[in-house]
């Protein structure tokens, strides 16, 4: 789990172009959206693409993302359960 969390932090920084952030700057329990990281609706859509590309998880409804992307930890938990690659 911890390994997946670390992996996710790196991927999030890369796909969302958070050039001013390092993995250790992201608290896996803190809200990803509406909090410190300042992510927006386009970032949420990009995370949906990332889940499909890297973990083979297809979200049909963007609204599902709301629960999954609460924090890096909730994301990791969801991926662990649903990944197909």
């Amino acid at each position: 789990m911890d390994q997946l969390i670390e992996e996710l932090k790196k991927e999030i920084i890369e796909v969302l172009n958070l050039e001013d952030k390092k993995p250790e700057d992201i608290d896996e329990n803190a809200p990803l959206f509406g909090g410190e990281t300042g992510l927006d609706s386009i970032d949420a859509l990009e995370l949906i693409v990332m889940m499909e590309k890297n973990y083979g998880i297809k979200l049909q409804n963007a609204a599902e993302g709301k629960e999954i992307f609460k924090s890096v930890r909730t994301m990791a938990e969801y991926i662990k359960e649903h990944r197909t690659k």
Binding site: D40, S41, I42, L45, I48, V49, N61, A62
Partner: protein, 384 residues
């Protein structure tokens, strides 16, 4: 009065404004379901042109082999040729200026350039080829302002005619659909898997459409046939977010206030209807309802044409103005097809059935990516 002297719509519903008007009056929609189209993994609903028919029409034009024209250029030329014929003016004259409104032009050539030269995906190049087809030597203007492009082009007409020495301005709006555009909107989760339902409480997103539309404008004191004139136009940026509309509808509200303040004695009670953008995305329709509410226009009749044509991108502002002008001049407001149960952030009156009107004004409003908003106020200009 700056007025229209000729127009055209080229869409799946017809090759002239009259054909399109008759089709929408009969409640026809160009929207269809497509799967395995454009090599896309997911199905979609859209209004796509029958390209065999387009080719057939294009083959009937004179000089159609001057260049190897692209799909976008062909529909633009066909649309403009018909509008010029209706206007009865010579498109090659030096006091005629072409304005092209398009969001993506020939972007499909990025997938495969075929035999085209490398400059062909550039929007200025298409505009040049279109105006040169007609023998017009003026450097055309290209407006590429996302979804509001068509109305942003209409906004240029007044200064071009009044300050810059042109006698006629031809505004052509056109876009064609491709894997590029559909996949992008799909990645935005903005497309409805089903036919769109503008302003409906259960709306699930937009449908895209292909079309070209043209309006030719000139300034004159009186007219021999009934037409529409531009009273005022305005553009405003929300300065809020590049893809999400302002929740308070700041920019759109400002454009509406601006056009209503353009002349003394303009009154909302003279507005026959507001032709909204009404894309059927949750955010757009809510935002438009908030703007109308803040104007105090809750009782004004509002309609959206997306259920007939889909969202035709760079053509939308022009095409929807042409249909709206027919509505105004015929005193007949079209219903918003696809919608059953209106439900938006603010309560507004969405036309669900045809309505009659004898009022003199209509407002075309539109908003899009980049935080852009536009409103244009039109009036009847009746024959003397």
């Amino acid at each position: 009065m700056i007025c229209s002297i000729g127009d055209n719509i080229l869409s799946p519903l017809g090759f002239t404004s009259a054909e399109n008007w008759n089709a929408v009056c009969s409640g026809h929609s160009a929207l269809k379901r497509y799967s395995d189209h454009f090599d896309l993994p997911e199905p979609f609903c859209a209004s796509l042109l029958d390209w065999e028919k387009v080719e057939e029409k294009f083959a009937q034009l004179p000089n159609n082999h001057l260049e190897n024209y692209t799909r976008l250029e062909k529909i633009s030329i066909l649309s403009a040729a018909d509008a010029f014929q209706k206007a009865g003016i010579n498109p090659a004259a030096e006091d005629v200026l072409f304005v092209l409104s398009t969001t993506k032009g020939n972007v499909e050539l990025l997938q495969d350039l075929h035999d085209y030269e490398p400059s062909r995906p550039y929007l200025w190049r298409s505009a040049q080829l279109i105006s040169r087809y007609f023998g017009n030597a003026n450097e055309p203007i290209v407006v590429s302002n996302a979804c509001i492009s068509g109305c942003a082009a209409l906004h240029l007409v007044k200064p071009l005619l009044q300050k810059h020495g042109f006698r006629y301005v031809a505004v052509i709006g056109a876009d064609v659909l491709s894997k590029f555009i559909i996949s992008g909107f799909q990645s935005f989760k903005a497309l409805s898997p089903d036919f769109c339902r503008p302003f409906d409480a259960d709306r699930t997103g937009l449908n895209l459409g292909e079309a070209a539309a043209t309006i030719i404008f000139t300034e004159m004191a009186e007219t021999k046939r009934n037409t529409i004139g531009i009273v005022a136009s305005a553009l405003c940026n929300d300065a809020n977010h590049i893809s999400a509309p302002s929740r308070t509808a700041e920019g759109l509200l400002k454009t509406l206030r601006s056009v209503m303040a353009a002349e003394k004695n303009l009154s909302a009670s003279d507005i026959a209807f507001v032709n909204a953008h009404g894309t059927a995305t949750r955010y757009n329709d809510d935002m438009e309802s908030v703007a109308l509410d803040r104007m105090g226009w809750n009782k004004l009749t509002v309609n959206s044409l997306k259920g007939y044509f889909g969202h035709t991108l760079g053509a939308a502002g022009v095409l929807e103005t042409v249909i709206s002008s027919h509505e105004l001049l015929n005193g007949q407001i079209l219903p918003t097809i696809g919608t059953q149960n209106p439900g938006t952030a603010a309560e507004i009156h969405v036309a669900l059935q045809p309505e009659k009107t004898d009022k003199p004004l209509f407002v075309k409003m539109i908003s899009g990516f980049g935080g852009s908003n536009a409103a244009v106020l039109f009036t009847k200009f009746l024959a003397v």
